[in-house]
Symmetry: C2
Subunit: 727 residues, 2 copies
């Protein structure tokens, strides 16, 4: 019985490999589909080339900066030089995740367009499975990466568990770091192109979306891929990696507790106690199987049904299976207290469903918020923006309340699982672990959710290809329906990502404190005042700690400012270029000559690459230099950095929610008018709504998702550099 | 020597009475000026009647709600029923402050317009002294009110110091509560009218600002008075009251320390130790004298000089005198450690100057931020908004860094002043007291700053009266110059108000902890675990405390959302009404018939009154019910509420800075174009800039200033209701 508990960890490599094999199967499934007409292929080729060219240049920049940083880490951070090395591996794996997602998505778009000529169901299945390659690939790679790095150091090189986790933290940091660049660069690219294409094309020239006469149209379609597929793929890769490792670090505390501090008679064997460290990976492994079934279940039973119903069916199947698997995993691994952790896992699964509903309320045309924005558009762009900002700020309320309930609930359940031997501090860690289990519950459906996210840009692209290659109206209607559905799923996944980040906050804070304790203990092995209890606190009543919080909140605002400005600047250049082309060659509007697509692609590429560097470095430089300075000045640097991390996280949750949901509401406010409200298209109300949609674009697709990565990066950067803040 | 220290407190009633007398003199000075032409008087009368009618209806609502709340407080909070009573007195005094400011400003506007027919200097002096009535009145009333309430309870009714302060806290809460209504109601009114007048008048009908053909023009001019004069007057009244009382509560801790815990030989006499409690009031008293001289010094030496130079001269004189008086007060009262507190006071004075410069950088047309917004306007309203949002978020960075330095500096100086007998906790309180002294330094110039703030709407109104009564161009140019100067000063005072709120944060947090300790000690007088040290902490590593912070941040966002939406809704109604009038009576545009001004005034009034109630109740209901629920559930309610207060304050600082400075930048981006950049007026760039200005209006004049009051209200509400959170 004793040895059994860890046997289940065998599932980790199996799930990782099955996930990769399944991604391979999906790729094969999509790639054998036909490529449509030569016109369609020509457009598809242009998108693919633009996207691949951007990826190449973007990752060249990322790799150069990563190598420099890896060198610094290797020089400064113990165990040298392994943290630097695993940082590079993490950055590389994150890049690979983005690349795989993109590789498949720029090939699925054309096949989805071709399938749309036949049936809606075939188009849905093609695009969804294309998206699922990314979802499965990312989650499997992250699982194998984290487990692999830990295994190599712990078993292969015989490092202690703590040191192996230090190295694994380097992996998570590398993943976050590369992801922030990818999400920022991709996000700036996509929105600069989108804003530029829309403002001149739709508003000034009066041509429809995705019209081939628009010089920025290819850049816009490329942008969907580099922003939503590659950027989001890297983002979710780093999220899962960071959360897995954070949970393992927390688990290490409980491992230590059960192997060292519990009275001898009750003590767990070392192997048994390892479940605390490995449960997160096991939970993720089961999540891969649940998502696999859910992805296969996505289909339309009838041609005239809403494609969203097919996706919802798959999602609910995934949730149910995840709950069932959680039952198995917790019962197998946690012994008598399994029901508390099972409960925490259910809270996580349930929170993900609640967030989906809240997001729909705020971003779908069926309810008050979007309709208020549409109504405000009748009095012009200014009232549209004012109302939209108000809705955007309101959207923070309900998710925060849901998160508060989920946090307190899973924390309380975790504490209940603590044995009587646990003192206050260990009860606290048990509680933190409860929130970690809830996070794992929420993330069990991650592969599925990521599939729905990447599905969005594939359908968007397919619609563009159909429009540009002048396919018949009924085919266009099919891709339009898929596209509307993709807009909803994109909003949902952003809400999901942010809520899971909030739920994961405590897990990562806990990991941070655990590391602070380890580093302090290493420096002062005999000091009896250094206890877990004395380290596990962030007392913002102390001014030096409070100012860390002030700085953390400010960092989020400054970062958002830089991300938004980058889009504004690049869009400004794009608008001027499109205007120039229309003016220089009147033949473009008369369809007698072709616009210069490549030039717009180039402007978006350059704008994105130049603008992504400063905001991406900020969340590394600020916490590290703040920690070093506070430490040098004799202040309580570990707590001050902790406050920066925690209050930065709170600010990030607020601003990202505001941006993601607000942007979605603006977008659908415009769609609501386009569907016929207030006179429909070509009215002043519609023009006002387009302004709102355009303003929302950089918020929801550049700054919002980037803040999600930023919050995670704050955690991993403080975890990696913690040794520099303690003395 | 011993008795001397408190002798200086005699200055408190003297300064209060001198301040009131000086306000009386200024009123006499302004009122004896002539009223201009009959046309001018007709317009002035319409503004005055609209403003007074709104005030009457607004304060009827406020009084009814305040009486209900006072009853609840009297029933629930000790010492009953005195806290409820002093709450009513505070609310009444706040209302009186707003009323006085308004009474004078709606009579100064016409006199400024009349003076502008003669010289710019006379117009400047008239409008500035009109504004100074409000500044002096508010600061003097607040000083007399706080000192009076404390004196009546402490000396008159023989309450203990702690109980007297409890009652005085009720006064501060009443003032905050009424101020939030006044600022919200006035802010919604002014911006609904402004947005409505601008969007239809300037953009759709193409008529200039303040054109008499615009039906909303009188409502717009009324709005300047009820929002900027009455609202801001009530706001600053409550700020000074809350900060004075918070500092006195902190002082009580040091009083207790010196009279009880210091070894007998070194102990201060009770009278001597009272300086800790009374220093804040003494510092404010000296500030009144400094401001008095500064106000008299405002004048123009040459007719062609920038009016801003005259105001700056007065400001620097006030700062220098304040520094000198601080030297006297600290040296007289604090004995051997005076230099540390003098240093802290200088930090406060210096911070106010730094904030003024930062605000000018972000909101004046001479630097990058405003110019970027103007440039982005050339590609339309969407890029204008995107760039403006980016600038708005960027503006949080520099003030936060300045505040961090000032906080740590004044805290450190305060700690240095602590005698060796002070343990860690008392050293902490000494540090808090250092930030309180810095706050007093910053607020020493408060009366002057408030004068420059109220000066803004007076000149704005004067310009409107000149325009509407068709005075010659050269006179209009004079009021335009004053108006531009007023826009700058309005932005500066908002930056000043927010920075002082941030600096005051610790003083108010400290007061909160002190009250928590007192209440716990009252409930468990013999429990040795209840110490100041155990109470003076907010450990956000505890999830129940952390969720309080999450809730506090959310509260700020939700509040901002409600405030902005109220403006959007009322503006929407206003736009429809103005459009209706233009359509129903074409004679309005041809100047053959007069528009129906009263109807627009009525729409703004109703919109403001209806919309102000929910957002104003939110910051009372949320913290109190959260505290009660957390306490009932057995969580650490005092700390959780503390986190709500502290992280709510951080979020408030961010959002208010973003709104105030962003709105100012949008406003001046438009003005920059109007001054000739990018083709000047009547270009698409100008139309785009008007959209940005309009979006910024509710941010900078409704939500931003209201958040300032909200932050203070969170402090006073938690101070008053603290007994309900402890068990």
């Amino acid at each position: 019985m004793e040895r059994d508990r860890m046997d289940i960890t065998l599932i980790i490599p199996i799930a990782g490999l099955v996930g990769l094999a399944f991604a391979g199967y999906l790729t094969w499934y999509v790639f054998r589909k036909d490529l449509g007409t030569p016109e369609m292929q020509e457009i598809g080729d242009a998108i693919r080339q633009g996207a691949m060219a951007f990826m190449k240049r973007q990752y060249t920049t990322i790799i150069v900066i990563s190598i420099i940083l890896a060198g610094l880490i290797a020089a400064l951070i113990d165990p040298k030089p392994w943290v630097g090395l695993s940082f590079m591996v993490g950055a590389g794996a994150s890049a690979a995740s983005g690349y795989i997602g993109m590789y498949v998505s720029v090939r699925s778009n054309i096949r989805t367009a071709a399938a749309a000529r036949r049936t809606l169901n075939e188009a849905l299945v093609t695009s969804f499975r294309g998206g699922a390659v990314s979802g499965m690939g990312v989650v499997s790679l992250s699982l194998l990466g984290v487990a692999g790095v830990f295994y190599i150091f712990n078993t292969g090189m015989d490092f202690a568990i703590s040191e192996s986790l230090d190295a694994a933290i380097g992996f998570a940091f590398g993943a976050s770091f590369a992801a922030l660049f990818a999400q920022l660069g991709g996000g700036i690219y996509t929105k600069a192109a989108d804003v530029g294409a829309d403002l001149v094309g739709k508003i000034e020239a009066g041509i429809p979306e995705d019209d081939p006469r628009n010089p920025a149209v290819i850049a816009d379609l490329v942008g969907d891929n580099v922003g939503d597929c590659a950027g989001r793929g890297a983002d979710l890769f780093e999220s899962t990696a960071a959360e897995n490792i954070g949970a393992m670090v927390l688990g290490l505390s409980l491992f230590t507790f059960w192997t060292e501090f519990v009275p001898v008679g009750m003590r767990w064997s070392e192997s048994d106690a390892l479940v605390w460290i490995f449960f997160p990976l096991v939970a993720r492994s089961f999540g891969i199987f649940a998502s696999l079934v859910g992805i296969l279940a996505v289909r339309l039973t009838k041609e005239d049904k809403d494609p969203m119903s097919g996706i919802n069916m798959g999602y609910y199947i995934t949730c149910l299976l995840a709950a069932a698997f959680f039952f198995v995993a917790t019962k197998y691994m946690f012994g008598d207290e399994w029901q508390y952790f099972f409960g925490a896992g259910l809270i996580g699964i349930f929170l993900s469903i609640v967030i989906v509903y809240i997001t729909q309320y705020y971003t779908s045309g069926s309810w008050r918020p979007v309709r208020e924005i549409a109504q405000a558009s009748t009095t012009g762009p200014a009232t549209n923006i004012i109302t939209g900002l108000s809705i955007a700020m309101e959207t923070t309320a309900m998710p925060v309340i849901a998160i508060i309930v989920a946090l307190l609930g899973s924390f309380g359940l975790g504490q209940m699982a603590a044995p009587p031997e646990a003192d206050t501090t260990y009860r606290l860690i048990y509680g933190f672990y409860g929130t970690a289990v809830a996070t794992m519950g929420m993330l069990a459906t991650c592969a599925f959710i990521l599939a729905t996210d990447t599905f969005g840009p594939i359908t968007d692209n397919a619609g563009g290809i159909i429009e540009m290659s002048k396919q018949p109206e009924n085919i266009r209607r099919r891709t339009d329906r898929l596209d509307a559905c993709g807009n909803t799923t994109k909003a949902l996944t952003k809400g999901y990502a942010m809520a899971s980040a909030a739920l994961a906050a405590f897990l990562l804070f806990g990991a941070y404190f655990e590391r602070v304790y380890m580093k302090l203990h290493e420096k002062h092995p005999t000091d009896p005042t250094i206890t877990l209890a004395s380290v596990f606190q962030v007392d913002i009543a102390q001014p030096d700690v409070f100012v860390g919080g002030l700085l953390g909140a400010m960092l989020v605002f400054l970062f958002a400012s830089l991300a938004i400005r980058a889009v504004g600047k690049a869009a400004h250049a794009m608008i001027n270029e499109v205007r120039r082309q229309f003016k220089a060659d009147p033949g473009i509007m008369e369809r007698t000559s072709k616009p210069d697509y490549a030039r717009c692609v180039d402007i978006a590429t350059k704008g994105a690459l130049k603008a992504m560097v400063l905001p991406a470095l900020l969340p590394v430089l600020v916490p590290v230099s703040f920690g070093i300075i506070m430490n040098a000045l004799g202040y309580n640097a570990p707590q001050a950095v902790g406050a920066l991390l925690m209050i930065g996280t709170i600010a990030g949750i607020m601003v990202a929610n505001m941006f993601n949901n607000g942007g979605g509401a603006w977008d659908n406010g415009k769609k609501y008018i386009e569907a016929g409200a207030y006179g429909g298209k070509k009215t002043p109300a519609h023009a006002a709504a387009v302004v709102g949609d355009t303003v929302g674009d950089p918020l929801k697709d550049t700054a919002g998702p980037s803040i999600h990565v930023l919050v995670k990066l704050l955690s991993t950067v403080t975890l990696v550099f913690v040794a520099l803040f303690v003395s």
